[in-house]
């Protein structure tokens, strides 16, 4: 396998003219001045590469430009500036069953759809039984698809799609459909594609899928490349931004900074594999505090929030523990959590410095730190168990 990237995106921007009322006749066009068309930049100067054989996750909130970028790569839209280079045969799944026609039977639609995805008639013949079996539609394949339920349509669409034979596969949000069993089947199929060394670009809102399936990920934010790298890091960044976007009152960092948080470390128990905290483990959150101006009534506190619900599950503060930190230059406060009791998952940490007397905020970092808790493996120690031995005459 060569090291050349399967997809190169160089300085790609995409501008849409947004007409308040889109002119579609010559008369309207003549009467509509350019000024009435607003420019909307769906993509701005996006730059990245996707290596051959990698699975690349593309995330971002609605309207961030993910689908536009995918359409540019697929050749459906033309970038307003920049260059996209793509190697190998490409198949794009932007919508399941996009080529389906209501009046045709399932069988006819399979052939029509397969040809759009680049399969020849022969290849479709060969894959046909597999496709029908995958979609679990053996009994309905000769019915017109207008009689299909939406679930059946989706199954048929995906079944055709996963039987294509591309070097590069673009998938837009189509995994979110179907019941859980079918989704598992689809993800399974994607893993097979990965093992076959195909390049996959996955656009999705399912952040866990990105972490579990992708080798690399990128996040788009208002049409700009906001983050790119390991899926874990990009997803974490995405969660920050999502919080900021969904809650207008959310402030990541605030305070008057007479005292400052210099560093926060989440220290796993000694001997644990790096960064892995098991349920029931004892671990430490270490907060290094620096006083820029003398502060007499400093209170250091932290809170842990459930990463899924943002609901606080525990907190502690120095004043409650009866500690007076006094004036100092730099100190480290260690909160030791004796046996973390909650479910495996991701947890945010918020750290704050405030005044004991007035509650005035010196420095607060809200949900700035993240740790993940795993289930403790079951221990299979050898113990003595009494075993009775009997023999019966037959």
């Amino acid at each position: 396998m060569t090291a050349a990237p399967a997809i190169e995106v160089h300085g790609v921007s995409k501008r849409f003219h947004v007409f308040r009322e889109k002119p579609s006749t010559i008369k309207q066009r003549l009467l509509t001045s350019r000024a009435r068309a607003d420019d909307f930049w769906a993509l701005r100067d996006v730059e990245f590469e996707i290596g051959e054989g990698t699975t690349f996750g593309l995330i971002g909130h609605n309207g961030s430009g993910k689908t536009t970028l995918l359409k540019c790569i697929a050749g459906i839209l033309r970038p307003s500036s920049g260059t996209i280079r793509q190697r190998g045969r490409l198949a794009a799944l932007l919508e399941l069953g996009a080529g389906f026609h209501q009046e045709l039977t399932g069988r006819e639609n399979v052939y029509l759809n397969a040809s759009f995805l680049g399969l020849t008639r022969k290849q479709t013949d060969a894959a046909f039984d597999d496709i029908v079996a995958f979609a679990e539609l053996e009994d309905f394949i000769d019915n017109e698809v207008k009689f299909y339920s939406s679930g059946m349509l989706v199954r048929l669409g995906f079944a055709v799609a996963v039987h294509v034979d591309p070097d590069v596969l673009l998938i837009d949000e189509v995994l979110a459909v179907g019941d859980e069993a079918f989704q598992a089947k689809c993800l399974d199929r994607i893993r097979t594609f990965q093992h076959e060394g195909r390049t996959i670009v996955l656009v999705t809102h399912a952040l866990n899928t990105v972490i579990e399936t992708c080798d690399r990920a990128a996040m788009l934010h208002h049409g700009e490349l906001h983050a790119i790298g390991m899926p874990d890091d990009v997803v974490r960044e995405m969660r920050y931004v999502l919080l900021g976007v969904t809650d207008p009152n959310f402030v990541r960092e605030e305070g008057t900074r007479e005292a400052e948080i210099a560093e926060v470390q989440i220290v796993p128990p000694p001997g644990a594999r790096e960064g892995r905290i098991l349920r029931g483990d004892t671990f430490t959150i270490a907060v290094d505090v620096r006083q820029n101006e003398p502060v007499d009534d400093l209170d250091v506190d932290f809170a842990v929030l459930d990463g899924a619900t943002n609901y606080p599950v525990m907190d502690a503060r120095t004043s409650r523990a009866g500690l007076d930190l006094g004036r100092f230059d730099k100190k480290r406060v260690r909160f030791r959590i004796e046996g973390f009791p909650y479910e495996p998952g991701k947890y945010w940490v918020t750290v704050g410095l405030s005044s004991r007397e007035t509650g005035h905020l010196y420095h607060v970092q809200t949900q700035r730190y993240l740790f993940e808790v795993f289930d403790a493996p079951r221990i299979q120690d050898r113990v003595d168990v009494a075993v009775a031995v009997e023999v019966d005459e037959l």
Binding site: F16, S24, T25, I26, K27, R29, K71, C72, I73, A74, G75, I76, L77, R78, P79, S80, S81, G82, T83, I84, R85, Q86, R87, G88, R89, L90, A92, L94, E95, A98, G99, H101, E103, L104, E108, Y111, L112, S115, F116, L119, T120, R121, D167, E196, G197, R198
Partner: protein, 297 residues
Amino acid sequence: MAATTQTVERTSESPQLRVGERLRVLVAHREILSNLIRKELKVKYVASVLGAIWSLLNPLVYLAVFTFVTRVLGNGLPDYPVYLLSGLLAWNLFSAATLGGSRSVIDNANLVKKVSFPREILPMAAIGVALVDYGLQMIVLLVFIVVSGHGLALPELAVLPLAFVALLVFTAALTLWISAVNVRYRDVGHLLNIGLLVWFWVTPIVYASGLVQSYLDDRAQILTVLYFVNPLTAVVEGMHRALYGVGVLPDGGTATWDMSLGSLTLIVAAVLVASLVFLRFTWGSFFARSGDFAEEL
């Protein structure tokens, strides 16, 4: 994996059409074309018991009606049904393809926005559907020509493939252009409807072109040239000569345009060459515009 990996580059520039390269792309996607034609035919005749027989009925009824009418009323144009149909079928192909093609991109907006494939295939499918009808109706006409005793003459019949190719190339050129422009300016679709109405009557389909000739002969030559600027005049005259012959009117004049077979062949060939140039131009324009279809729909 794939033995040959080709690299595709997409930029903000509208790509230049390279005919050879593009033809290879289209051949690689021929499966879509045949499937789309099949789909259109299926949808056209869905829930109809007789299906494609309806296509055959159209020329059959024409033949029956005009045979009856000319028998009863008499007509100056001998074997009028053959004269009429040999031109009318060519016209039907032309108008069905351009009308279908003008809507082809718009009607398939869902495909254009969601699926990546060579956009030319959409107007090509419209032409394909019209061709299937043309083929079926041509069979009816040929059978009638033989059965009715009108008969076919060999050197003239050789003009048929030439006229047919010229018709096809001209139709393809115009259809590509209209289908692309109609995406941005829907006026073009309406304009086409009216245009076809006029176009039908300036083309010698229903009336004898020989009469036009004897009228124009007394006037400026430029009018004759203008009459033949319409590429369909030459095509239909070619069809007339191939399938109908010359035909003699009661007053001794000819039913079709009076010229040698050689001159007619030359004119049709000239139309073919001009249409090829036109096609190269409209195809290039379609290709350049097609990158924006998904955005404009």
